[in-house]
């Protein structure tokens, strides 16, 4: 018997927020060098008040390395996870996600193109990677869905995976081709493509925050429509959803958010697949609950994955994509196996 309220209560939101902040603080304190909690708070408090901080409290590490990094990780985790939840609802397929569909590979190709050719937007030197990642992510999504719908209108799991594999290989081959001719930028591209938040700045965090605020608002405002899509696109049309408009707007929002996240951190696989799936087991499939729960759990999941990547081989740092893909691939097999078994 399922009796779930439509959304979360204020108390539940406070609880989610508290857990997120606790993990955030832990991620700032822990790393190659552990910093005591008291010192961390002291540094942040002094910085907020605009006062100078003694060097022995490691202000540079806290304020300019870990804090912006943790903000970026949390926002990217929330964004990727919300995108995954939205795509899984929209396409009525629990295996749909930026990485399985190939959208992340498309975004990655865009970002690598921008890095390899040094493409920038005049006046906004950092924005070339972001803009190209977003455009390529959207184009990738359009190509993938057009191909998938032509092959199989009901978008079954097998079709989604087949198209995703093909597109990932296609985008990967072009990316490799670009890297071959990238000469001195090979190292930058290679490390970036493995996925890492090292070198994240407040500017990066601000870009992801703006993207999340705009695209997240679009996606959250269509929670009810996503419920109807999750039951079936035909059913969505029958109950009165403007199917074409809603689908287009959600796909644009998802592409922008994935594109921005990929441009900041590189490809981080499986976050959008694993987190919404695990969250759905607790919150249920209603997107009024699922989307917000996925945002919080995505932020927490990616912050923990980043922490593991930083400390497990201390002082060496693993690319975060290694951690998420390791966990993600196991969960992917589990989902695929159970969904096939259910048939």
């Amino acid at each position: 018997m399922i009796k779930r309220p439509e959304g979360f209560s204020a108390t539940e939101y406070i609880l989610f927020g508290a857990v997120t902040i606790v993990v955030m603080v832990a991620c700032v304190c822990l790393g190659s060098v552990n910093i005591p909690l008291g010192n961390t708070f002291k540094v942040i408090w002094q910085a907020v008040r605009g006062l100078s901080v003694p060097d022995e409290l490691s202000p540079a590490v806290i304020l300019y390395v870990r804090l912006p990094r943790v903000f970026c990780v949390a926002l990217a985790g929330a964004g990727l996870s919300v995108c995954g939840a939205a795509m899984q609802g929209l396409l009525r397929n629990p295996l749909a996600d930026g990485s399985t569909l190939g959208v992340s590979a498309g975004a990655s190709l865009g970002a690598v193109t921008a890095i390899a050719f040094g493409l920038t937007i005049p006046g906004l030197p950092f924005s070339g990677t972001v803009i190209f990642a977003v455009i390529f992510a959207f184009l990738a999504l359009v190509v993938i869905l057009t191909l998938a719908y032509r092959l199989d209108y009901s978008l079954t799991t097998n079709t989604i995976i087949l198209i995703g594999v093909i597109f990932n290989m296609f985008a990967g081959s072009i990316t490799s081709l670009l890297i071959t001719f990238a000469h001195e930028k090979v190292k930058t591209i290679t490390f970036w493509s493995m996925g890492s938040f090292a070198g994240s700045s407040y500017k990066n965090a601000l870009i992801v925050l703006i993207a999340f605020a705009i695209c997240g608002t679009v996606i959250f405002s269509y929670a009810r429509e996503l419920n109807s899509f999750a039951i079936g696109e035909e059913n969505a049309r029958h109950v009165g959803v403007n199917v074409k408009r809603v689908k287009l707007l959600i796909l644009i929002a998802v592409s922008v958010l994935i594109g921005v996240s990929v441009s900041i951190s590189g490809t981080i696989g499986f976050v959008g697949l694993v987190v919404p799936h695990m969250t759905r087991m607790i919150s249920g499939p209603n997107h009024k609950r699922l989307l917000s729960a996925s945002a919080f759990s995505g932020a927490v999941f990616l912050m923990i994955a980043d922490l593991v990547a930083r400390v497990i081989l201390r002082p060496l740092e693993l690319p975060i994509g290694v951690v998420t893909s390791f966990v993600g691939s196991i969960v992917f097999v589990y989902i695929f196996y159970t969904s096939r078994k259910a048939k």
Binding site: R92, R224, E225, N227, S228, A230, G240, N242, G284
Partner: protein
């Protein structure tokens, strides 16, 4: 109430529905019958704007092509032939989506009668007690009744039903068909349904349209349309003889 004028549907070079026209008045239940591949489901898909078509579909004199999706859903409720659910929504959550057509913007609160309409729809279809069950755990018949409840919650004037007897055992077939017959008795309401069981068509329909290879062979009252001669043309067999033979098994 409903006028379909010269409606044609083409998929690539194949013409699936060819210049079909018929009318339906309120309180009538039109049975769309014909052999497999006759174009019945495609025709009702076109009437509900599910596939591109040429020709016109007028509802209360208004062309449905000019209606916004929510407005169309307030006028027309559609029951699909099959339901392939992927997530564990509860029965109540699925039925509540029927009220989408009456919802405002993101920040507007749901209309007051939503809960009442959902309760009534669940009651009508006998789904009150499993309202909290996951749709993934339902039998085919329960799932069919859940989506029928969604349409009743939608409160349209015209019901478009593609094989409403699908997955229903004989008891529920009778209950659902009796229910729809009661529903359509109210002024301002009408039903179009695709039915394969000609006995059901004859017992419950007021009108019928018999299709064959995308065209209408006959339309009018059920008695006229389901004549021995018409059925022989459509099905290429003696349906009356077959039906009587089947019935004799019970005597």
């Amino acid at each position: 109430m409903l006028r379909v004028i010269d409606l044609s549907v083409k998929f690539g070079s194949a013409q699936i529905v060819k210049r079909v026209s018929f009318e339906l008045e309120e309180q009538q239940w039109l049975m769309l019958v014909g052999p497999n591949g006759a174009g019945k489901s495609t025709l009702i898909n076109a009437i509900s704007r599910g596939v591109p078509y040429t020709g016109s579909v007028l509802l209360h004199g208004r062309n449905i092509s000019g209606m916004k999706p929510q407005e169309l859903a307030r006028h027309m409720g559609v029951l699909a032939q099959s339901h392939n659910v992927a997530y564990s929504f509860s029965v109540e959550e699925v039925v509540k989506l029927g009220r989408y057509a009456y919802s405002g913007g993101v920040f507007s609160s749901p209309p007051a009668e939503d809960d009442r309409m959902v309760d009534e729809a669940l009651e009508m279809t006998g789904m009150t007690s499993p309202r909290g069950h996951s749709v993934l755990t339902l039998s085919g018949g329960e799932l069919q009744r859940t989506f029928l409840a969604q349409i009743f919650a939608q409160d349209p004037q015209l019901l478009i039903l593609d094989e409403p007897a699908n997955y229903l055992d004989l008891l529920y077939q009778k209950q659902v068909f009796d229910l729809i017959r009661e529903w359509v008795k109210k002024p301002g309401r009408a039903v179009v349904s695709v039915v394969h069981d000609l006995s059901l068509a004859k017992a419950y329909g007021t009108n019928a349209v018999l299709m064959h290879r995308g065209r209408i062979i006959s339309s009018g009252s059920v008695g006229e349309v389901l004549s021995k001669a018409n059925l022989r043309v459509a099905y290429d067999m003696d349906i009356y003889e077959w039906m009587n033979k089947m019935l004799s098994q019970w005597q």
